[in-house]
Symmetry: C2
């Protein structure tokens, strides 16, 4: 991964450049943070000509390391106005690594109405006309692109939501089966891609093998240890059986399952949307209860949710979607949630942001809570781009402003994922203080064995996670491995060193994580953010979550200490 | 003015309290700034329970000083999220002064759906049920209130826009004829009043006379000098003849008349919407070309615009409205602009914010530029509170976000008034750096005899105005007197001293102005604003105004020096 691909959409030009020395040890999220800080004016209009859209595999992308193929996509977020890295599974990161690219940087705005796709293979890269794909959903887009360019290609693409520059739009990445359901969903990066007039990136690694390790023997030993740790982890096992949806009963039990626009943390019908129930339904209907999104993944959190006739509805159905489009909407039917999920995927929408916007729409009286048909209809409105659809497609904050809803589950313009922050207070700390806006992956605390209702220790816990997870995001590893691998950071440095020929200590990886967050915070500071943006909305501080009779009571001084 | 009226909408309680020592020399805008800083949490939700709505006459309010009856209304702005003082003409400030109130402070949120009005007279104050007025336009509201409480009362009230908490909603104040067309329009204060469940304030000063001067002889002498200066001013004379609309040809000549969503600064049909044309039309139709909004006003900038049959359409028709709803919408017909103005007034909307939102709607393709019927219809949609109406009623920034328009004439969330900032660069400096958001009254430079297209000296000019105008806003004087009185500040201190028995120098008045802006800036700082908020949108810095082929090129360092 010794080169960077620069794609200029104004000049329709492409050039390759060598990786600068200071970028050599940066991958994924770290690469994005540094590049944004170096090259993008922090105060720029996110959908204007100065912003850049970046695709970057992790440092281990394209290697033999299992579960190391995450793709980081980033830019200045059209949703938050701050730094954004949103990573997804599937095979895009793997292919990009094998194509030897540390990153693709898409720059400039198109000077005409023409639409393009970027095709990259062993012979180089080209911008090709893509008028015929514009307007298509992501499933048909990926299908047609794989028909044309071969079933081996990986695709990142947007749907109509991204084309319309909706701030809830994400970027879909194809998985091992060629299905574009691995979303870099957060932060409106689909809108950024749409603003560039870029429908898709097609990656073909034909003729290029896996990236060989610098020290094969040591690499193989490190890999053995790595696999053993993952294999023996009970958390990984749970992901295998129930996927992320195992979380439903866990969060509900502690009053942390977002329900009816985050007005409470307990859902009366949680069992009906639980991972256990999902597992039973999928088993009965002969779907797939477990599934890998990338080759050789041992975590296999994915699934294929099918209807009564055994036909696929969506793959995968995950916890965040179940929380945001289930309990948060007072919807207790997994079939409906799966359909909502499919529609969002196809239109190119982040299910978290869209679910939160629908919750706000219900709180604002546009449709009643629990209105299943109404919710499906509103997602279609977004897909069609009607005025109503535009209001919701711009995300929960804009929907709330238009509909006059004050209690918004939003930080830095981005909607909260599936953890009610008064019930799971460490997540509240992460929502408030992450440079990404309300985000769960930036500092996930929900699996820690602590009293989630108590404020004690939550700031420290969130801080620890916020400064650990960037290691995974920098390397391209799945963050679901963090619980298993957390106690063994030297396994990660051994993998990196044997793969890349570096001499990094585990400590060095933590330093890289630390540096990553510092770059991100600095970008945000230059974009105008202050500590006052590191807060939850007034509502969560002042109105108790009735399930546990507690407000979010982690003090402002504690929040401010996170990044000191 | 030795007392403050506290009105608590949660408890439906009212109490009077003496003015604290440190507030004694503060009036109008200064009073609001200090009170917000002392009592309102700067990060609070503006439409939540912590915000306060403040009505304050100037230090000379209720005195015999001519043109001293402006009413300052303030709070944390629901539109900008920062400090807000919005002042209006009419007789509300005069009555409040005569009732001896330095201010009315409305606190808390209602705990029921019931609606109220606040009645204040010589015997005290009371909250009265106002269900029967809720939903009415401001004209009918004022008419009915005057019917019920006597034609002598002054009224401040909101229309449906404020009731719906639309961020483009203002507060209407009655004038000398009892017509509620003197708007405290900016910053969404109508929404703040609506959030309090307060439809109107009714002030009856029966039995209370003018506030007598402490030193009658000196006061009379100062008043003579004051009147003479105003009488001899050619600027005041121009206001008499053409009203503020005289500005149309002036700004158009320098490429500073906002046209078609601020895309250029010259309007091909400027003559058709000019003050001169307006004067001719009103004369022909036997309307009133000049008119006073408060008793004894010598400036008389107001008018009564009538239709062909001589029937009132709106009074007054002013420059800002003509710019924002005329050239900015590509509408060249004063009759249509007057009708738009009337509708906005009646629904309780700021014509600047609404005009800018309509311009954005046209840029976003909702209706074409120049569509007169479409524009009238959209204002009705806002009044009716449809989804389309909500999108526009929340102001230009929200409309732009929903409609995907990037080139927004907005600073700190508030729409720009009638001066294209690349053409009239001093106004651009004021828009960028005023604590109020894009605002013309905070530092009006358009009448200065400078090359408005040149960046030279504009920062100094804006600074001078931004630190002079608060004197007028603190005293309750009409800022249209500033050009005439500017060279004679000691006349103002003589008026204040002889009226109040104080010993202030002209210098002290400038210190008060300075302090006022510092308090406002400090409130904003604590609300999360930084110097990076003191900028125009990227569009104005990078895309030339084609009328003069110039971008807004006053440097960021110059902007940052304004408040150093």
């Amino acid at each position: 991964m010794n080169k960077i691909l620069r794609v200029n959409m104004t000049e329709l030009s492409i050039k390759e450049e060598p990786v600068k020395e200071e970028y050599k040890l940066l991958g994924g999220r770290a690469f994005i943070a540094k590049l944004l800080l170096d090259e993008v004016k922090p105060t720029c209009e996110p959908l204007g000509k100065h912003n850049k859209l970046i695709f970057a595999p992790g440092l281990l992308g394209g290697s033999k390391v299992l579960s190391s193929g995450r793709i980081s996509i980033g830019g200045k977020s059209p949703l938050t106005g701050g730094v954004k890295e949103s990573n997804g599974g599937g095979v895009v990161g793997i292919k990009l690594g094998r194509l030897r690219y540390k990153g693709i940087v898409v720059e400039g705005l198109p000077s005409s109405e023409r639409k393009y796709l970027l095709k990259v293979d062993a012979n180089g890269a080209a911008l090709l006309e893509a008028e015929q794909y514009w307007g298509l959903g992501v499933y048909e887009t990926a299908r047609k692109l794989r028909e044309k360019y071969g079933s081996n290609v990986a695709v990142s693409c947007i749907g109509p939501a991204g084309e319309n520059k909706f701030l809830a739009a994400g970027i879909a990445n194809t998985d091992i089966d060629g299905v574009p359901s691995r979303y870099s969903g957060r932060g409106g990066l689909g809108a950024l891609m749409g603003s560039k007039g870029l429908k898709a990136i097609v990656l073909d690694d034909k003729g290029l093998g896996v990236l060989e390790a610098a020290d094969v023997r040591e690499f193989n030993q490190a890999m053995q240890d790595y696999s053993k740790i993952l294999k023996e982890s009970p958390v990984v096992e749970a992901y295998n059986i129930y996927g992320t949806a195992a979380m439903v009963q866990v969060t509900n039990a502690v009053g942390g399952l977002p329900t009816r626009n985050f007005s409470t943390g307990k859902f009366e019908w949680a069992e009906k949307i639980s991972g256990e129930r999902m597992h039973d339904i999928i088993s009965e209907r002969k779907g797939k209860t477990t599934h890998a999104c990338m080759p050789g993944c041992m975590i296999r959190c994915s699934n294929v949710y099918v209807d009564e006739s055994g036909k696929d509805i969506v793959a995968p159905l995950e916890y965040e979607t179940i929380a945001l489009m289930g309990s948060n909407l007072n919807i207790d039917d997994l079939d409906v949630i799966a359909k909502l999920n499919y529609l969002c995927n196809d239109y190119g929408l982040d299910t978290i942001e869209t679910g939160a916007a629908l919750g706000v729409a219900m709180a604002g009286g546009l449709i009643p809570f629990g209105d299943q048909e109404g919710a499906l209809n509103l997602v279609h409105e977004i897909g069609k781009g009607t005025l109503q659809g535009r209001v919701l497609g711009m995300g929960a904050e804009t929907a709330g402003k238009v509909l006059g809803v004050l209690n918004l589950p939003v930080v830095k313009g981005q909607a909260m994922p599936g953890y009610e922050p008064r019930g799971i207070k460490g997540m509240g700390v992460t929502y408030a203080t992450s440079p990404m806006g309300a985000d769960h992956t930036a500092g996930a605390t929900a699996r820690a064995k602590v009293d989630h209702n108590s404020r004690e220790g939550q700031a420290d816990l969130s801080k620890k996670m916020q400064y650990t997870i960037p290691i995974y995001d920098d390397l391209g590893l799945c963050m679901f491995a963090v619980v298993a691998l957390g106690p063994y950071p030297e396994v990660l440095s051994r993998l990196v060193n044997s793969q890349l020929g570096t001499q990094l200590s585990a400590e060095d990886l933590f330093k890289l994580a630390d540096q990553t967050v510092k770059w991100e915070r600095e970008f945000n500071r230059r974009a105008g953010f202050t500590n006052l943006d590191d807060r939850l909305p007034e509502y969560f501080n002042e109105t108790p979550n009735p399930a546990i009779n507690s407000v979010f009571d982690v003090g402002e001084e504690e929040l401010d200490k996170i990044h000191e």
